[in-house]
Amino acid sequence: MTMQNDAWVISLVGIGLVALLFIYVIAQAGKIAPDPAGVQKKAYALRRPLFWALIVLGIGVAYGTLRTFPIPKQQGALHPAQTVQVIAHQWSWEITPAPIQAGVPIEFDVTSADVNHGFAIFDAHDRLLTQTQAMPGYTNRLIYTFAQPGTYRVLCLEYCGVAHYGMMDELHVVARKGDRQ
């Protein structure tokens, strides 16, 4: 499972639950409860445990997704195996040096020479792997470890003008010396 599939499934389940609740209430809406105040009281009594259940769920998800912070620290040394400089231009990428090694953490120092861009790495199946913004005046440090050697695609993910859709490049990732292909 990729993160995209996780997000898709969780969203579909959530939307589906909301939809089921609405369908149930709509199906009941034409009837008239003999004790309307009692119905509302009962429904609002249910809300309190629901509130705490969502709070506990939220804390659990926040802890699970933030415990290992998804973004590398931006100050101090990161000790990557290789550092790659990325400068975005309207509408091309300047990426040095190439090639890039697989299986080890690579630090991408990403900035822009003109406007905001988005540095995004896609795999051979055009699946988005990771990204950061490329901003004028700032350098965002992205750490990524390529599992496999091969050709990866770089796309721009921040609207940067009329040729935004064509701002693409490739990353050539090779096996580390000593690793078997």
Partner: protein, 497 residues
């Protein structure tokens, strides 16, 4: 006057004329901008051929126009109901409309005459880094258009703020904060006043933030030696943009609080959880915007964590107070399923369901692979197309239906069914595209993304067909009502003069 149409909501002929201007303008602009959206999806699907330059002009007009027009339509809902409780100036409401019109003309001129295609977010320095596609003047006219529209909304909010303070003493009392920690809640305290006061506070701050960044960008456009910090500008733009869009939802939901009880026959008043929800939302809407900046790694990380956590907590008032409250109000109520009631229930579903993928994307680890993919327009179209727009339509069907029973035909109901099903398909294709890593804002798409684009185009065409029928029916009924009415123009007796 009936329970559905109380005397306190009667419109003078002048007020009706102004409301008609708001309503009919908004419906016409929604339709036009939906056509722009359809053109973009069809172009991405390679069914029509438009140049990238024109594509990005359409995209800019669609984004700026939709955000502004949803705000305009929602402000009409707030005005309509708030004037029952406080004395609002019709002149200020007219001024808001006229300034909106002027701003819209400036924006359209910048885009379609000046060629501006810097997106509705006008992230610095793109507007002034034109690459020869548009001129600095075009960018400046676009931003000036925003500024003019912002001034209109500020006038409306300041008038509403003074009116609320005249009746309730201060904004805290209008929000019901005196009952947050105890005391006997005055059940007659209007939900409309609570929601309106929240919007007045929050959107005044949001628009002021927008005004600051617009003035900074305008000065920089003509005095480039006054450089701007791109990250600071981005923060201000997303603060303003997020607050403005959210306040449009909060203004529109006033119609839900007011109208749903009339069709269900059950009261829906203030309670302590309700007051807490609106108090919490007042703060959360102001501080959640960093979730738009999660991929700006140099942002202070505590702000990004705040963005994630407040994204989660922001869902609680929507789920547990407004949507849950609406369902409780409807459950076994002997509901009168007329068009406004159906549209209100649809709007509650669209809002509650639409924030699920939004909250998922508000998780930093997810955002890394979803930010600026089609997932993003997927979730915001969900709660705007199936949430806010049905709120606006419900309000207009209700107002227009006051004089015309003919707004309850099988055609109206069929259109609603088409709108719901096609709307779900339309937003579903965005979300599926996001899952497949389809980038947003691409004028030209890879072959593997075409099925999503084409299915979305068909769905968009059906949504527009339904919307066209809604617009014709509502506009016709509103104009008919206006032509046969004599207005008093008097202030209701219960309001201070």
């Amino acid at each position: 006057m009936s329970a559905l149409y109380p005397q306190t909501e009667a419109l003078s002929s002048r007020e009706r004329a102004v409301l008609n201007l708001y309503a009919i303008s908004a419906l016409a602009v929604f339709l036009l901008l939906m056509l722009f959206g359809l053109a973009m999806r069809a172009a991405q699907g390679r069914w029509i051929n438009i140049s990238p330059q024109v594509f990005y002009q359409l995209m800019t007009a669609h984004g700026a126009g939709m955000v502004g027009t949803v705000g305009l339509a929602s402000s009409a809902i707030m005005w309509f109901f708030l004037r029952k409780y406080v004395r609002l100036s019709t002149a200020m409401f007219v001024a808001n409309y006229l300034l909106f019109l002027l701003g819209a003309v400036l924006i359209l001129a910048a885009v379609f005459i000046g060629g501006f295609g810097g997106a509705w977010t006008f992230l610095y320095p793109l507007p002034v880094h034109t690459m020869g596609i548009w001129s600095i003047n075009a960018a400046a006219v676009f931003m000036l258009g925003y500024l003019v529209i912002g001034v209109g909304f500020l006038l409306f909010y300041l008038d509403a703020m003074l009116a609320v303070m005249r009746v309730y003493g201060n904004l805290g009392r209008a929000l019901g904060w005196q009952w947050l920690f105890g005391g006997t809640i005055d059940k007659s305290h209007p939900t409309t006043v609570v929601a309106s006061t929240m919007v007045i506070i929050v959107n005044t701050l949001g628009i002021l933030g927008g005004a600051v960044v617009l003035v900074m960008c305008l000065v920089n456009a003509y005095v480039p030696r006054f450089p701007l910090d791109a990250l600071l500008v981005k923060n201000l733009i997303y603060f303003f943009g997020h607050v403005f869009v959210n306040c449009s939802i909060y203004m529109a939901v006033i119609g839900v609080y007011e109208l749903l009880p009339r069709y269900s026959g059950r009261p829906w008043g203030v309670s302590r959880p309700f007051l807490w929800a609106w108090a919490a939302s007042t703060v959360m809407v102001l501080i959640v915007y960093p979730h738009h900046l999660m991929m700006d790694y140099v942002m202070p990380h505590w702000m990004l964590v705040t963005g994630q956590i407040i994204s989660y907590t922001s869902g609680l008032p929507v789920f547990l107070v407004t949507a849950y409250g609406a369902l409780t109000n409807v459950y076994r109520s002997g509901m009168r399923w007329r068009m406004p009631a159906m549209l209100i229930v649809l709007s509650m579903f669209g809002w509650a369901a639409g924030i699920v993928p939004a909250i998922v994307d508000g998780t930093i680890a997810v955002n890394v692979v979803m930010h600026n993919t089609m997932w993003v327009p997927g979730h915001f179209h969900f709660y705007l197309l199936l949430g806010v727009l049905p709120m606006v339509l419900a309000f207009l069907y209700h107002v227009a239906g006051g004089s015309s029973r003919s707004l309850e035909t099988a055609g109206d109901r069929l259109s609603l069914a088409v709108y719901l099903i096609a709307g779900l398909a339309f937003v579903g294709m965005f979300l599926a595209g996001g899952r497949a890593s389809e980038p947003r804002r691409y004028a030209v798409h890879f072959a593997e993304w075409l099925p999503y684009d084409r299915a979305a185009s068909i769905a968009a065409a059906l949504v527009i067909a339904a919307m066209l029928l809604f617009a014709i029916r509502i506009s016709g009924a509103l104009l008919k009502a206006g032509s046969g009415e004599k207005g008093s123009g008097e202030v209701p007796a219960h309001l201070p003069g």
